[in-house]
């Protein structure tokens, strides 16, 4: 993967808000994510994780505040810098694995045939599906579809990856494999923003933001967040509950 000159921060959100009709999904949220790390957005369903990712990839525009990725406002011009794996598998079921990945390689303007073929092969091999490359996505298991979806997101070697709940429905073995991929990617300079509601994913991230009701209620490294509870044996789950209770107390 080619390292590129990048802005100091991969993501910078400044007091951004977004509502679906009258429902506030993101509430004056601020966040800074440095480059080349895995950053976890942790929180229960409805916390605003997916909406935040959609703001960051440019699918939504904040009603107030600002959102920047790699120093720029998300737009079509920045689209080639990001890879996006939505929550749904988001694949063309009738097409084969290789046809899906090749389509997204073309969409991301990998126009040189030889170079594109190489990228497609690398992406499919990375998710360990080269043997199944000619199979229709329709015939694959849920976990395999997740892997194809990841291959589609990384085929153009973007410096910034947004993965919306990428490990949902994966068995433990596959989850480990996915995290090995993610760690490899960050070592190569890629920044990965992952949304999840499992503490297992949280433990793998370099930094975390705990989210609730469209706000970030705490952020730091997993160790920092655990230590903030004041209990030496605290798990990340304990830390999450600690910050939720602290937020509730300050609200009341």
């Amino acid at each position: 993967m080619v390292k590129r000159r990048l802005a100091r921060l991969a993501v910078e959100v400044n007091k951004a808000s977004f509502s679906y009709n009258n429902l506030k999904a993101i509430d004056e949220l601020s966040l800074k994510v440095p480059n080349s790390i895995s950053f976890g957005l942790l929180g229960p369903n409805g916390a605003g994780k997916t909406t935040l990712i959609r703001l960051l990839v440019g699918l939504l525009k904040p009603k107030s505040g600002s959102v920047r990725i790699l120093g720029q406002t998300p737009s079509r011009k920045t689209a080639h810098l990001i890879g996006y794996m939505p929550q749904l598998h988001s694949l063309y079921a009738e097409l084969s694995v290789i046809q899906n990945v090749d389509f997204f390689a073309r969409i991301y303007q990998l126009s040189d045939k030889h170079q594109r073929a190489q990228h497609v092969e690398e992406a499919i091999k990375l998710v360990d599906l080269w043997q199944r490359r000619k199979d229709s996505v329709l015939r694959l298991s849920g976990g395999m579809k997740q892997r194809v979806s990841l291959a589609c997101a990384i085929v153009h070697n973007p410096p910034l990856l947004f993965l919306d709940e990428p490990t949902v429905g994966l068995d433990p073995e596959l989850r480990v494999t996915f995290w090995e991929h993610f760690t490899n990617l960050t070592r190569q300079g890629v920044t990965i923003i992952i949304s999840s509601h499992t503490m297992d994913d949280a433990a793998h991230c370099d930094r975390l933001a705990f989210m609730r009701d469209g706000k970030v209620i705490a952020q730091g490294t997993p160790l920092e967040l655990q230590q903030a509870t004041g209990k030496p044996s605290a798990t990340l789950e304990d830390a999450f509950l600690y910050f939720i209770h602290r937020e509730d107390r300050s609200d009341s």
């Binding site: 699918l59 689209a79 009738e94 097409l95 073309r106």
Partner: protein
């Protein structure tokens, strides 16, 4: 000039349909079954000759609208539209790509239906066959764009199906398919003037029954092309809102 990203999307649409063999068979067989039943229901061949151009226009509108509308909706319901909207492709690329992709299949369908109607159902016509095809192509273009546009208002297949009685049925009754527009009340005649099928039926009848040329039906052609262009631009504009919802 067609942008390369639109061609990439068109190629994918074609690839997808070719791999779905059952759909491919239905695309060919269903219009033929419908035309056969309609043809057999007319005991007088002169009546069938009169109604055939209107039926061809209606079939082109209906099947192209349905095929494109449902497929475009699937792009959203399976989440791939969200992925496309986060990529460097423009909304116009997506609409033009779909238009090109589905156009091939709608054209194939129309070719088969027109040839079947003329050679198997033995419908008499006066105009040139190639001019009939060109006119049908314009109807298809308008219908494919209409399908894309309407699908941006539906959240699922059930809702899309509800648009058929709203978009297709009134046109069948108000656009001169069954009885002449002139026999309808004034206000309905005005309504028929804003419906694309009116121009499709008029133009195709003039070619097939009166032996007129494409130049003679230039007004109807221009209205249909204008409708297709306007509706594709509006579809591109509404795309972002619908993909994000």
């Amino acid at each position: 000039m067609i942008p390369s990203q639109a061609l990439t999307i068109a190629a994918r649409v074609i690839q997808q349909l070719i791999r779905d063999r059952r759909t491919m068979i239905l695309i060919v067989v269903v219009p033929l079954v419908v035309m056969t039943l309609i043809g057999l229901s007319f005991p007088e061949s002169t009546v069938l000759d009169y109604i055939a151009p209107a039926l061809l226009a209606t079939m082109a509108l209906f099947f192209s609208f349905l095929l494109t509308g449902i497929s475009f909706l699937r792009e959203r319901s399976q989440g791939t539209m969200e992925r496309l909207m986060a990529s460097p492709v423009s909304r116009l690329d997506i609409v033009v790509g779909y238009l090109l992709g589905f156009f091939i299949f709608a054209l194939l369908q129309t070719l088969i239906v027109v040839l079947f109607t003329i050679y198997v159902l033995d419908v008499h016509y006066y105009g040139d066959l190639w001019q009939i095809f060109i006119f049908q192509i314009v109807i298809i273009t308008a219908a494919v764009n209409l399908g894309i546009f309407i699908s941006t208002f539906a959240r699922n297949e059930f809702q899309m199906v509800q648009f058929i009685p709203l978009i297709i049925f009134p046109q069948v009754f108000l656009c001169g398919v069954i009885w002449p527009v002139e026999q309808m009340p004034n206000y309905l005649q005005w309504l028929s003037k804003i419906l694309p099928l009116t121009y499709g039926v008029d133009g195709l009848r003039d070619i097939m029954l009166a032996g007129q040329s494409l130049l003679d039906v230039g007004f109807e052609l221009a209205v249909l092309v204008g409708f297709a262009v306007v509706i594709s631009i509006v579809a591109a504009i509404t795309l972002r809102r619908s993909a994000a919802s």
